[in-house]
Symmetry: none
Subunit: 267 residues, 3 copies
């Protein structure tokens, strides 16, 4: 059992480390689908009161999308790279196309989860039906009994309306669900097309060919990996010196000692 | 149990890596079947209102097919190869047959999932029945009560029609389902025949025999694999030099160090 | 459990690799059975309208059979061998018996799945009953109420006929099912006999005895296997040279390096 868990973790961590963009985004999307379904099944309940409906539906779609977007931005190393770059050199060294590419990559990766969440919410339609039922015009429905206003319309998602208006719930729900799903498909289509256009634009703005791009991406990832490992060893050497100057000796384990001696001589 | 999971994962990843076209396309088709079934069961609900019906059915078949097509085009390396080639050399070095073969291979691989989605939608028939029920001519049905127009016909998929028209729903559904399935089979047949013709045309345009084609495909795959591996090692050597010039030393692990020294001497 | 799954996967992949004709065809037939059953259970619905019935039944049996046949032809290497042979040498070197044997082997392997599909459709009988119910002559049924024509007969598969004709459905269905199953058995028998005759003919046309045929088939399979493996190594050597001339060195893994050096010296 322990082996099972560790195997799976190793597998997952390999996936996450490889940072293959497609697999990574796919996993994020699957996770979003799962949490979206869980939320809709267990926690969504329309308040059925004018104005509150609208706020509730908006919050149920918008807040998780915003949170997922912010998490996506926070987890991306490039964000903090860009921030410190701008603070130290006031973005002077950042040309237009480079800034576009950097921002595009940050936003593009952060936008996967929120868009998945919104599309799923819209395709399920519950949040949209709850939010907009109060804005349905009673005059647009044939034979709808007179004298009911927004307050009654907002009660529809809970089926708490007077008996003579209840049969119209089917019509209203169908219409709102139609709008919601159409919006969802529209959002899906627009996202797909804009991703394609963005990738095209990125390729067309870059001065490198396809193989050169691949070489350059190899070089960057190798350099950043070697830089971090070397910086770690360098910091450990400095820390060992500092501790040694206090105690007169330093208790390194065997592996570290060998490594440090090797690099010190090399230096 | 752990071994089971890891075996399966290894098996799947082998499948995905081998990129054997048939297996790959088969997996894509199976995934499309699964998502299509999920969508139809959980989210499809006909709006039952004239004009909206048509839009809804069209969106439910068309938008996912478009998105799947765009994803298929984006994930194909050849697309970006072609784009950068055209941008850098203005497609001058691309002869007619070569462009045809390249475009054919890109579109051919991207078209598997959308065609599967459309055929499945048409064979299930729900979207088609919903979209076209409003266009059924009441005069074509024997003994259909007079005075009902498009508005009533559009209500049929929700069974929301007056009681004297309801018994005709069986006839209408059968007729529309028949058209939908016939269209689905037609699309299947046309796709199969056009794939066969395209493969024939590709073989006839190529100046190579069958064994030569196999040798050439071996050579291309070996070359691209060796090129990428060698480019990776070259990039790592460059990155190691760059880090060394910054820190005075570089923390490579044993394996990398040996590899780099070997290639440096060879060079 | 893990061993069970991995064993099965290894077993299946061995099966697919060995391409033993009998096993391969058996697997194709089993897959066809599964998809046929799925289609009949989930999607088949008779339109119950004259002329449409016939088209629908024909499409439900014929189109999948055609598609399976085309797929079978496309997946067979011999097809493309023959096509490129004919294009390059205008079929001059193809004698009558050789062409017969080659075409026979291509068609023979491609015909397994469509025949299985057709036999299964006919043995189940649903498609045949739907297609031909309109052609049943009311006069052939004893005591059948007068005044019903093809339009009514076509409605029988949906049980949508007037109450005084409904009791005859049992008779009609039994009669049509009998014809359908008899056709199915006939097709099975004809296929089996024609395969036997074809194998006999192939043996009689061949100038070799039984042991010689076995030796010849051994030789051919060994030659093609060795040819392909050697062509692969040759292509890899060429690719390694080409990459080396670009980067100055080539990153081969240990196994490949040894293999290539051995063959280069041998050459």
């Amino acid at each position: 059992m322990a082996a099972l868990i560790s195997e799976n973790f190793r597998f997952l961590s390999l996936f996450f480390k490889s940072k293959d963009v497609v697999i990574f985004n796919g996993l994020i999307a699957v996770g979003t689908v799962a949490s979206q379904t869980a939320y809709n099944v267990f926690a969504f309940s329309c308040p059925c009161s004018p104005e509150r409906n609208y706020m509730y539906g908006l919050a149920a779609i918008g807040v998780p999308a915003l949170v997922l977007f912010l998490i996506g931005i926070m987890l991306n190393r490039n964000t903090w790279n860009l921030v410190s770059e701008c603070r130290m050199r006031a973005c002077r060294r950042l040309s237009g196309p480079a800034a576009f590419a950097l921002l595009g990559s940050i936003v593009g990766r952060a936008v996967v989860a929120p868009v998945t969440w919104s599309v799923l919410s819209l395709l399920r339609g519950e949040a949209y039906v709850c939010a907009l039922s109060e804005f349905v015009d009673p005059a647009s429905l044939k034979d709808f009994p007179l004298g009911y206003g927004r307050r009654t319309m907002a009660l529809f998602p809970c089926r708490g309306v007077p008996a003579d208006a209840l049969p119209f719930w089917g019509d209203i729900e169908r219409q709102l669900k139609y709008e919601s799903q159409l919006l969802g498909w529209l959002l899906t289509g627009i996202t797909a097309i804009s991703i394609l256009l963005m990738l095209c634009l990125k390729r067309c703005c870059s001065p490198l060919g396809d193989q050169q791009e691949a070489y350059w991406s190899h070089f960057r990832s190798s350099e950043s990996q070697l830089f971090q490992r070397t910086a770690g060893v360098h910091a450990k050497m400095l820390a060992a010196q500092s501790v040694k100057s206090f105690f007169g000796f330093v208790a390194l384990d065997k592996e570290d000692r060998e490594q440090l001696e090797e690099y010190r001589s090399e230096k």
